[in-house]
Amino acid sequence: MSALLEVRDLRLQFGGVTAVDGLSFEVREGEILAVIGPNGAGKTSAFNCISGFYLPTAGAVVFDGKAIVRAVPELWRRLGLVNLLQSFGLYRVLPSRVTKWGMARTFQNLRLFRELSVLENVTTAMHANLREGFWATLLHTPGYRRAEAACVREARGWLDFVGFEDDEQLYVTQLPYGEQRRVEIARALATSPKLLLLDEPAAGLNFNEKQALMRLIRKIRGLGVAVVLIEHDMGLVMELAERIVVLNYGKEIADGAPEVVKRDPAVIEAYLGVDESEDA
């Protein structure tokens, strides 16, 4: 089992705040890894660095043998042009490119396309994989019709896979929260990922929905897709994860199997806080 994703000494600073402080971990092919930590520990920030949205201050992220964080020549740093160059797409890998390489993600606060129907949300995610030219679209060539039909079929396959049973023509805002979460996962899967990053997928779900989510995540792993999830629900994490990485104040405080992490004194302290009356 080789490492699919390798994160080494990742650091991310926002002005004075160090959101991620020397994070290192790796994800092997087809495993379920959980990233946990108290609120504000830097979990989402780490995800954003890994998927190319934020540019880390230091460190390396290698996905499937390709570097996501690019080195910037010292000259540009000295001239203070780094931000400008990177906003023009130089010396960085755009998130869309990372997605094409096979890393998909969901967002902590649902970010579905609100003005598209459920089906269109999923077909939109097939953008990079679809052979559909400009002129073919304008002329409605047979190739275009075939591509469109295949795309819709594939999208419906994903909607069925995640157990979405509502009307696919509805706008996402018409759906209950739990269904929206499902659509977001279907949308991420439609990009054909090797690695799926889920940012608090169980937030706001009821007990039944959480159970269904656990089954779904196992099913996704069954397809050979590695899953990294951020989660606050310990029950779900302990049940699901094969390995757990614990963050606190941007630092990694534990990495290991659930049974080991669960007993780690540093982890218990991070979650429960040090009992002040005992200290005094």
Partner: protein, 390 residues
């Protein structure tokens, strides 16, 4: 499966087959939105095509042709603002580029009209890239400012250069000609004379709009259109879905630019004279208003908006100096009562509206036995110990 291989690039992960076949959507005129919109479109085209047979006076025809050119412009802006969500405050600049390029190439250089059309398209693509390439990398506020400046720069340049005729503009732009016959010659059909070139431009504009409506509709439904709408809705999420948002934005911008340039050429040849006054910021604002008023991203809405904005001042002509005031009040009233436009893009015909099926009620049968959760007792959880922290 072979179809899928042809349609999709090599991807490591394929969706499992759908669990059930979806029913074919209905196709009838009254049973589907698409069928109804097509019928409505056909009816509208017929009505517009019949107008010259009713009243072919010079005044009516020239106002109707201007209205159609407005419709064309608004449809182009709709791709930029409505589909891709890029706020363009200087759209008229591309219209001006089209008008001036075709004017200069045909009068000063004496090129034939079709060659001038090609030059127009190339000029608009170039202008689109020059303005769009640096600004579209940034968030859309910058684009609004840059396009606002661009619109004024084009107008002021046209006002001051010699080749553009300065403030008086360019005169004597020739008509389209096909061999020995040109639009100026006219002909008679079914006993009715069509002596006026404006009538021809009316029909040309109509045909171009029909082609544009069909083309825009097809683009909007395809891969590129979905990418545009995704970028408009949520740029970060679109990036996360593998859409290069920069390419999506710049393609919308250039398509809009080319379309406006073609409208500009149509106007230049239709009026045979152009001057910088026709390209003021006011017109950029009016077109944008038409798009917002009609409903961003909605073709029927935008057509209604364009007709309203171009025809209302004419229809209110009796009120003389009051007309722009009445026009303004009307606009405010419309926006108050229909904030997402007269015909919003997400509008569904009232008799086709779906209601969300109610989710199944929670029952004991669907519940998972609690024993699954028992195995994780004793682990530190955030919720359970929240109170202990203090």
């Amino acid at each position: 499966m072979r179809d899928l291989d042809l349609a999709l690039k090599h991807v490591p992960l394929r969706a499992p087959a759908p669990l059930f076949e979806r029913p074919q959507p209905p196709k009838g005129v009254f049973t589907s939105q698409r069928g109804f919109m097509r019928a409505l479109g056909l009816l509208a085209v017929l009505l517009v095509a019949v107008l010259p047979f009713m009243d072919a006076s010079r005044y009516t025809m020239s106002i109707a042709t201007s209205a159609l050119i407005y419709v064309m412009l608004c449809m182009g802006l709709n791709v930029v603002v409505g589909y891709a969500g890029l706020l363009d405050l200087g759209y008229i600049a591309f219209f001006a580029v089209g008008a001036y390029v075709s004017g200069i190439f045909t009068t000063v250089l004496g090129w034939p009209m079709w060659a001038a059309l090609i030059a127009t398209i190339i000029a608009c693509i170039t202008a689109g890239i020059i303005i769009g390439a640096p600004t579209l990398r940034l968030r859309s506020d910058y684009l609004a400012i840059v396009t606002l400046g661009f619109g004024e720069i084009i107008r002021i340049t046209a006002n001051n250069l010699k080749i553009t005729g300065g403030p008086s503009g360019i005169h004597g732009i020739p008509s389209w000609s096909f061999g020995p016959w040109s639009f100026d010659d006219g002909f008679s059909l079914l006993g009715i004379d069509f002596p006026e070139r404006v009538v021809f431009y009316y029909f040309v504009a109509l045909v171009v709009i029909v082609v544009g409506v069909i083309g825009a509709g097809r683009l909007a439904k395809g891969r590129l259109g979905r990418a545009w709408k995704a970028v408009r809705d949520d740029e970060d999420a679109a990036e996360a879905m593998g859409i290069n948002t920069y390419i999506a934005k710049i393609s919308a911008y250039i398509i809009g630019a080319v379309w406006a340039g073609m409208a500009g050429q149509l106007m230049a040849t239709h009026l045979s004279a152009i001057s910088p006054n026709s390209f003021q910021f006011l017109y950029s604002a009016l077109i944008l208003m038409a798009v917002v008023l009609g409903g961003m991203g909605s073709t029927p809405g935008v057509i209604i908006g364009a007709l309203f904005v171009s025809l209302a001042p004419e229809l209110l002509r009796d009120f003389a100096e009051w007309r722009y005031l009445i026009f303004g009040v009307l606009l405010v009233v419309v926006m108050l009562f229909r904030p997402s436009g007269l015909w919003p893009a997400t509008a569904v015909l009232p008799w086709l509206r779906r209601s969300r099926p109610t989710p199944p009620a929670f029952t004991e049968a669907t519940a998972v036995p609690a024993s699954i959760m028992e195995s994780v007792d004793g682990t530190p959880t955030t919720d359970a110990h929240e109170g202990d922290r203090a």
